[in-house]
Symmetry: C2
Subunit: 190 residues, 2 copies
């Protein structure tokens, strides 16, 4: 998505440690005109795949997953990072390792909202090592749901998670793939 | 919003302790067709008020705030509950007491995304005691931004937070106001 690359180049900021700051339009302040365009693009990519549900993880995946759900016309579900008191009944859960915070956390989704027969599109803001998406795939497997594919706003191609998923046969569509970046520039995958 | 009352009656579940579970359409699984209607309704209510930004708190406010932002055509910003490593520069922060979890937490927003001159619409899924919204109003005051009003999906009128804000002169528009509820039924405000 050319527009995503342009937004990253004009508004993104590369920080030391492989961090790309896109808080001005993607994950703290959200450009809602662009958000709707992202949702439409994801719907264009996966609209013919029989997707029944969009699944993401709180918090920064929610806006883009909601936009994708609106454009696809299907419900959006987000996994929570902690089991909260108002999820009753049984849940599916998986452990995810965060390299950013060097810690493990649980992701949890009520079994009411992920069903056998669902065809699930996984959506997130970033794809780096792919651990969060592997956790979501684990939740889908527990539910007996099928994974239609993965769509993320920005893939850090140099961290390899996206290509590992592709090697397993998962369709991964990233709106921009960064193959290299530092303070001097960003190289997008052709 | 009649449709919100209908959704609460058909899909909501009242649990002991004043908890209304609406995870099937509002805050774990999100009905995206309905989400867009909520955004349109909020835009109808506040569209002529010169709103420049929608502000919410992660995580369950993000989807409805994004929908409101899309319908209003203005950016959406969400306050984070912890200061994370990729918010650089200065931030505004406020302490919020959660009655649900009986704990205090910090809400933080980068000063880059809340500006003097902004006219901010505060959006959230629930309004109960109003502590989260008071925290957001505090962030706006620190930024020198004006609060255009508050719009939430569901107000628990019996907990008084919404009426306390109205008594201070804040325009509060809730898509449904519940004045009483228990396992046997729900009474909406006329």
């Amino acid at each position: 998505m050319k527009l995503m690359e342009e937004k990253i180049l004009t508004e993104g900021k590369v920080l030391p440690g492989g961090i790309l700051k896109v808080g001005s339009f993607l994950n703290q302040q959200i450009d809602t005109v662009f958000l709707k365009q992202m949702g439409d693009e994801i719907a264009r990519l996966f609209g013919s795949q029989g997707v029944t549900k969009v699944l993401t993880i709180e918090a920064s995946g929610i806006a883009i997953a909601a936009a994708a759900g609106i454009s696809l016309g299907v419900p959006m579900v987000f996994a929570k990072k902690h089991k909260t008191s108002n999820v009753d009944g049984s849940v599916y859960s998986s452990v995810v390792h965060s390299y950013t915070h060097n810690t493990d956390y649980n992701i949890v989704v009520s079994s009411d909202y992920l069903l056998p027969g669902d065809k699930v599109l996984l959506v997130d803001d970033f794809l780096a090592n792919g651990k969060a998406l592997e956790g979501l795939m684990d939740l889908c497997a527990q539910a007996g749901a099928q994974v239609a594919g993965v769509s993320v706003a920005i893939e850090k191609g140099f961290q390899g998670g996206g290509d590992r998923l592709r090697a397993k046969g998962v369709r991964v569509e990233s709106l921009a793939v960064i193959d290299a970046m530092n303070e001097n520039g960003i190289v997008f995958r052709k």
